[in-house]
């Protein structure tokens, strides 16, 4: 399971970077979205995905009872990260719209 998710994260990062490096302005948004989601999945993976995984916040050497409980902390972190990236994407959309309105360009290289 970890391996599959690792590959998914890698692909998402690749796609995100590819979009960010394109010249079209709209692609920046896609790039940011992909990178954001890849990072969220990475946080998710840090909790350990196998059923008997131990929450990482335990003290060194301690063990929790094996009740099949997931580590709740990364999920809280992801929730925060999702909310933040939501706000940022909303700002980015307005910014790009405004840039398009003022310059009439969709090509980043033409912005001089």
């Amino acid at each position: 399971m970890e391996l599959i998710l690792a590959i998914v994260v890698a692909v998402l990062y690749t796609v995100g970077v590819y979009f960010l490096l394109r010249r079209s302005m709209v692609r920046i948004i896609f790039g940011v979205l992909f990178l954001g989601n890849a990072t969220n999945l990475l946080i998710f993976m840090s909790s350990g995905l196998t059923p008997d995984a131990q929450p990482s916040f335990l003290n060194i050497g301690a063990e929790a009872s094996k009740q099949g409980l997931a580590d709740p902390l990364p999920q809280a972190l992801i929730l925060t990260a999702i909310v933040i990236s939501f706000g940022i994407v909303a700002f980015l959309l307005t910014l790009l719209r405004k840039t398009h309105e003022v310059t009439g360009e969709n090509d980043l290289d033409q912005l001089k």
């Binding site: 990482s56 910014l95 405004k98 003022v102």
Partner: protein, 496 residues
Amino acid sequence: MIVFAPIIIPLLFIILSLSVAKASKKVQQTVFLSGNIITIGVAISILTTVLKEGIIVAQAGAWEAPFGITIVADTFSAIMLTLTSITVAVVSLYSLAWRENNLNTPVFYALIFGLQMGMNGAFVAGDLFNMYVWFEVMLLSSFVLISYGSDKKQLKGTLKYVSMNLVSSFFFVAGIALLYGKTGTLNMADLAYRVREMGPELDIFAPSALILMGFAIKSAIFPFFFWLPDSYHTPPLPISALFSGTLTKVGVYSMIRFYALIHVPGDSFFTQMFLFIASTTMISGVLMATSQFEVRRLLSFHIVSQIGYMILGLGLFTKLALTGAIFYIIGHCIVKTNLFLLSGIAYKITGTFDLKKSGGLMKHKPFIAVLFFISAMALVGIPPLSGFFGKFMLLKAGVESQEFIHVASALFVSFLTLFSMVKIWNESYAKPIPEEIINQGFKFGKAPKQLIASSVLLVLITISLTVGSKFIIDTCATAADQLLNVDAYINAVLHI
């Protein structure tokens, strides 16, 4: 509980400044300035408490560390809180008299408080994820501020600024995720404890590298600096001044804070890398600055170059070096902001930011020339002004650690800095206005008194850094001591 105040007070004033949006301009401005003054008061009272009683710790919602959100203020945080709140207040005073760009609106006031809330939060955060959240608060305010007014050039700069800062945030969060998976904690004191407890078998190289990379992009060091000179000269001048004085320092602060915690004795990879980066940052920044003729762009490249000195202190990582770096941060923040403010005053008088087209300021306004001269010399580090002490301590620490190449490059960069300052002096102050500009019907403009007054305030602070240098260096040394003595930090937060 006083450590919550630097976050809560700006938040209250965001609400307050928006809720008086319908009131008269006078009321709005009073609210704006009083908010700034109260924040300074809080910052200073935190500084005095920390100096008297040691590290202050508060747990949000009474959840004990490492599970709750911990707010910690040590001397370094308190210095940064005081420094940024003073800078923000002076720039606010300046922006009230800046009649262009429609800056005097409740929204602008709220954004300044938002920026301040984010910065203060990042300074007192005792938890990495919490620090990330404060970074985002700061960034979102800065995104809106840097695009404020949205003219064409500015939007282009904003796009670069926004995308680079988002990428750096992703590096930061990815590092946090891996770090949590490895160590099971994000509380900085607990992290430092576990790093020391588990020793070399705990390999946190990859997460640390990712997190430091995120900070590196934010503080614009080599090779990630290109976004800064491309974007910092585009917004309205008070905003440029504010950003150049305070924002990059937040990145440097977090780098020093984070590295001091995860640093294990004997680790030479990161310190060697910091030294290399410090030299390359200093040199590349200053070399590019020398070829500029737009004064704001020139000063922006100098920010990059001077960040290098701060990183040099981090790379040497001795008590003297960190003391020097912290003193340099204080001096640089005040002086760089002032140079931007003065370039704004020069713009009001000569009507241009282009050095080639301006001139004659020394004859026309000798007082402003004096202000510029003091600030420029403080930036270069001519004794006895503030830049000298920081550079001297850094160089001495460098010689003690036998890093002669980096000492040599720091000296070389000082000369080039002097060269650029002399260039601004010659072009803008000493030489007369060019003939063809006079022929086009040039007339000297007027600079409002309030603009000059805020610049005078900063020059006075620069001079008082010299006069009170013993006290300030002692404070910086305490801060450096606390950074190096991680056990005391761990003990203060976790009571172990």
